[in-house]
């Protein structure tokens, strides 16, 4: 079963005992077999659905933005209430048990827009509420969103620093 490639990789490990080498060879051969046989995701279908669903959420956001602008807010001022409305949409859809279905269908199309971000927080909050308001929901509602916030903020600082250093 061990292929040429696996044998070559193993021969570069002379410090290992015979048994350990044999084990490593089996592992590499199995890894190769799994990689070869594992069913591939339906990339084209996934990309298309993600595009359509993500696009539809963006169009909805655009309509909300237009609505606020038509009521006299300029683009900058209208952005904040638009985000708030879209977050609310994500929150309600999660509470109704719709958003996880949308995520299953559309993948990144549902995860990337801010509605998806709202979903990560509400989904965690709903789950951990059972362990109490403080040690459950309070402590764990940012379980999924936490890294996004931490590294998003960090990335913002880094980018701002680079801009600060490079601007004349």
């Amino acid at each position: 079963m061990a292929s040429q490639k696996a044998k070559k990789q193993v021969s570069s490990l002379p410090h290992m005992t015979q048994a350990a080498q044999e084990e490593k060879r089996r592992q590499l051969a199995y890894k190769e077999l799994v990689q070869k046989k594992k069913p591939r995701p339906r990339y084209l279908r996934n990309v298309l659905v993600a595009f359509v669903v993500g696009g539809a959420i963006a169009v909805l956001g655009q309509l909300v933005l237009r609505f606020f602008m038509s009521r006299g807010l300029d683009l900058d001022a209208a952005s904040a209430p638009t985000l708030a409305v879209m977050i609310l949409v994500g929150v309600i859809a999660t509470g109704l048990g719709i958003y996880d279905e949308l995520g299953e269908l559309a993948g990144a199309g549902a995860a990337v827009p801010i509605t998806g971000f709202a979903n990560t927080i509400v989904a965690a909050a709903m789950d951990y509420k059972r362990e109490g308001w403080v040690l459950g929901m309070g402590a764990k509602m940012f379980l999924i969103a936490g890294p996004v916030i931490v590294y998003g903020t960090l990335a913002g600082v880094v980018v701002a620093f680079i801009k600060f250093m490079t601007s004349p």
Partner: protein, 336 residues
């Protein structure tokens, strides 16, 4: 001298324990699957009237156990031991159900291999002359398992092609030293096998080497082969894992034919139900074996069945620390 030990890792029961009663409960998704009619109770929803999914899992495990005792037409006080397990940290479902049942209790953890593992242990306890009645049971629950091993239930996550769906359910079987019913005749205990898989979304692929190892050990020890069984049943390898098992044993000169099936592919209709590659969890092998297969044995469809339940022994912690997934498989032969 171990008179009942055969080969490296198999025991042959001198007076095989008899399965005198079973109880199975399945969740709402399993209740829409092809085996729905075989379960004693099908839940209307995952909550089953409880405020947490963990309580719901404890409730179904206890209820399945009571049904098994009832079917055997004995009193609960006559049961010598209760051997049970589940997937949750500190096996709470089993421990909590034992609190209600008040039977001397051994809590066991074998991940999804618990069903076959507890059958083997119960067999040894009975054949060793330590008990007349041993109740074995295990459970799993989609929502409790998702929370512990994966993500919050309502999170927008797209299933991978090899992802599996944890079966909500509980299965219990009462084994007795005498009576009428199918017998547990052989048990092969698995070794922990790890071929270095680290893909948390591919449990079937990770567990297939363990299943292959135990299956080959069973054939080696007993001198039997695939044709000696009407049905060779793996616990929850699902579509990809079953394919890998076929490949792995083929390399060792064993060809699995149409008599090989996987509980994870039987409990759901994987084409029309959105369950990924198939079912998983302790309850997967338990509800299929105790609910469906034993009923079919009664009807005479099967006479010799080999159940190989597979389990992945990782935790979310070990996975996050970059460890590979150690797996185990236990085999028990059940004969009509």
């Amino acid at each position: 001298m171990a008179a009942k030990k055969v080969g490296k890792s198999t025991v042959r029961f001198a007076s095989p324990p008899i399965i005198v009663g079973t109880g199975t409960i399945a969740g709402p998704v399993e209740g829409k699957g092809p085996l729905a009619a075989d379960f004693d109770v099908v839940l209307p929803d995952h909550a089953y009237g409880e405020r947490t999914p963990e309580r719901s899992e404890t409730k179904i495990l206890e209820q399945a156990s009571r049904i098994a005792i009832e079917r055997a037409k004995i009193e609960k006080s006559m049961v010598d031991y209760y051997i049970a397990g589940d997937l949750l940290n500190q096996v709470i479902s089993a421990g909590f159900s034992a609190r209600q049942l008040a039977i001397p209790y051994f809590g066991v953890y074998g991940a999804c291999s618990t069903c076959a593992m507890s059958l083997a242990l119960a067999g040894m306890v009975i054949d060793g002359g330590f008990a007349d009645y041993v109740l074995v049971a295990c459970s799993s629950h989609y929502q409790t398992a998702e929370r512990q091993y994966r993500y919050p239930i309502e999170l927008n996550i797209q299933r991978k092609t090899t992802s599996q769906y944890t079966v909500t359910g509980a299965g219990a079987a009462l084994l007795a030293s005498s009576g009428v019913g199918p017998k547990v005749t052989w048990a092969t205990t698995g070794k922990v096998t790890d071929l270095g898989s680290k893909d948390i979304n591919d449990m079937g692929g990770a567990m297939a080497p363990a299943a292959a190892d135990t299956l080959l050990a069973h054939f080696d020890d007993t001198g039997r082969g695939p044709s000696d069984y009407d049905l060779i049943l793996t616990g929850d390898l699902a579509s990809f894992g079953s394919e890998m098992l076929r490949e792995l044993v083929r390399d060792n000169g064993v060809e699995l034919g149409d008599n090989y099936r996987d509980c994870g592919l039987m409990v759901f209709d994987t084409k029309s139900q959105r369950v990924g590659a198939g079912g998983s969890g302790c309850a997967c092998s338990a509800v299929v074996t105790f609910g469906h297969v034993l009923k079919e044995m009664e009807k005479g469809t099967y006479r010799n069945v080999l159940l190989i339940a597979t389990g992945a022994l990782m935790s979310p912690l070990s996975f996050q620390q970059g460890e590979s997934i150690p797996c185990i498989a236990h085999a028990v032969a059940i004969e009509a």
